[in-house]
Subunit: 190 residues, 2 copies
């Protein structure tokens, strides 16, 4: 998606450890118009797939999850990274590790918001090692539903999440695929 790639080139900051900071438009300050355009483009990429529900993880996945679900006309559910004290009903919970934050989180969804027998699209802002996406996929499958796709704003295709997701047989679409962050420079997959 050219609009997103251009924005990454203009505003993205590369930090040591293969970190790409895009907090000026994606995950701290948010450009709502770009969020809506990204939702529309994800829906276009999964055109022809029946989707009943979008699942993402708080907090950075909510914006693109919401616009995607809005365009599809289906509910969005966001997994909590920390179970709320108000979650007194049965939950699905999966441990996922963040290499950026160097900590594990237990992503949690109330069971009643993932009914069985649905087609679920997973959406997230970033794909690096695939921990969050694969954790969400395990939750959807525990719930008796099918993961019909994984839609990502920015994937770092040189890290292992891309391969793990394809090896597991999921349909993966990323709006921007970063091939390398070497020498502080963003190069996209062509």
């Amino acid at each position: 998606m050219e609009l997103l790639e251009q924005r990454i080139l203009d505003e993205g900051i590369v930090l040591p450890g293969n970190v790409l900071k895009v907090d000026s438009f994606l995950n701290h300050q948010i450009d709502p118009k770009l969020s809506m355009a990204m939702g529309k483009e994800l829906v276009r990429l999964f055109d022809g797939t029946k989707i009943d529900r979008v699942l993402t993880v708080e907090a950075s996945g909510i914006a693109i999850g919401l616009t995607t679900a809005f365009v599809l006309g289906v509910p969005l559910v966001f997994a909590r990274k920390k179970a709320s004290v108000l979650m007194t009903e049965p939950v699905y919970m999966e441990k996922v590790y963040s290499y950026t934050k160097k900590e594990s989180a237990e992503i949690t969804v109330l069971q009643k918001f993932l009914p069985a027998g649905e087609n679920v699209l997973l959406v997230d802002d970033f794909l690096a090692n695939g921990e969050a996406a694969l954790g969400m996929a395990r939750i959807v499958e525990k719930a008796g539903s099918e993961v019909v796709g994984i839609g990502i704003a920015i994937e770092k295709s040189f890290q292992n999440g891309h391969k793990r997701i394809l090896d597991a047989g999921y349909h993966l679409e990323a709006l921007a695929s970063v091939a390398s962050l070497d020498d502080g420079k963003v190069t996209f997959v062509r």
Copy 2:
């Protein structure tokens, strides 16, 4: 906002301690169409006010913050409840206490995403004791900008946030004002 009030009556669950759970459409499962309608209605309520930016707090404020900012055509910034390891630049930070969770959080915003001299609208999903809203207001004022309004999806007007915000002189608008949760029944302000 009748659409929201009806949804609260249909799906809201009242728990002991004046807790109103609306996680089937507002803050765990989200109805994107309702989120967009709420954003539009907040913009209508603040019609005539110049707004440069919307500020909210993760995670539950992001959906209504995004739709409000989308309708206004301005950026959204969401305060983090926990500073990210990637926040290596100067931040504004304010301690706020959650009576529901019985814990304090330090809401944090990178300074560069709150330029001075702007008109900022604060948006959140809930107003109870006003801690998050007043914390955001302190941050905006530290940044040298003006809080031109506080827009809330659901306020519990019988708790003290409503009065604290009006006493501080802010323009408050809530899409649904709950007068009481006595006997497990939701009553709205008329």
